[in-house]
Amino acid sequence: MPPKHPSKANEEVPSHRNDEPKKIQEEERKVKIPPELIAKLVKNFLEDEGTKVSGAAIKTVGEYMHLFLTEAVYRAVSDRRDGDPWAKTTNSGLMLEVEDLEKIAPQLLLDF
């Protein structure tokens, strides 16, 4: 494993899946975890009742989790397709299993 930028190749994956300008992609990104749920989840795990979380911070955590989850899927697929998640190989009916997640989880958690 390259120690310095372990996820360099993979990190770019979710946001550059085709050559469209980034702006358009962001607007097209309809599927995301609602900020209200993010806020509830974060507050659920806070230890101190007095701690508050700013709206911008919630939005950023939302992006963080979005990247985390997307990255998990891309890495799992990448693993099954020998490093290229888009490979048009014969295994187009690929089913992601728990074992695929188990394989990529340790490095994923180190990178996030």
């Binding site: 930028h5 372990p6 996820s7 360099k8 990190e11 770019e12 979710p14 946001s15 599927v31 995301k32 975890i33 609602p34 749920l37 509830k40 989840l41 974060v42 507050k43 659920n44 795990f45 806070l46 230890e47 101190d48 007095g50 701690t51 508050k52 979380v53 700013s54 911008a56 911070a57 939005k59 950023t60 955590v61 992006e63 963080y64 989790m65 979005h66 990247l67 985390f68 989850l69 997307t70 998990a72 899927v73 891309y74 697929v77 998640p85 187009s92 009916g93 690929l94 089913m95 992601l96 299993e97 728990v98 695929d100 997640l101 188990e102 989880a105 994923l108 958690l109 990178d111 996030f112």
Partner: protein, 109 residues
């Protein structure tokens, strides 16, 4: 089951639902499918990750003598991953620019 446990279960179900939608979206792009077990495990992973980052964020804010978690604290989460840091920095900058534009629009009126 206590009321708190029920609330935890409800939150996890909500997370599960949204993780499922997100995974389906990503799978569509890559022409693959994910088993329900995959989505369930990923939800569990995300749940633990939320636990970790919430406590980190709280401690970062406390360390800076603040009681409110700010975007600076979230950026600290990604301090070990320059690529992730860059992507989050962009979100923070966009958000700040949006707010500034809104404020300018208001004061003009």
């Amino acid at each position: 089951m206590s009321a708190d446990d029920t609330e935890q279960e409800r939150l996890k179900s909500a997370l599960w639902y949204h993780v499922g939608k997100l995974v389906d979206d990503a799978c569509l792009d890559l022409n693959v499918n994910a088993t329900p077990q995959f989505i369930g495990s990923l939800t569990e992973l995300a749940w633990v990750q939320f636990d970790n980052i919430a406590k980190d964020l709280e401690n970062f804010a406390k360390h800076a003598n603040r009681s409110t978690v700010s975007t600076a604290d979230v950026l600290l989460l990604a301090r070990k991953n320059p690529d992730l840091h860059g992507l989050l920095q962009k979100v923070v900058d966009d958000e700040a620019a949006e707010r500034a534009a809104k404020a300018a629009g208001k004061s003009r009126r």
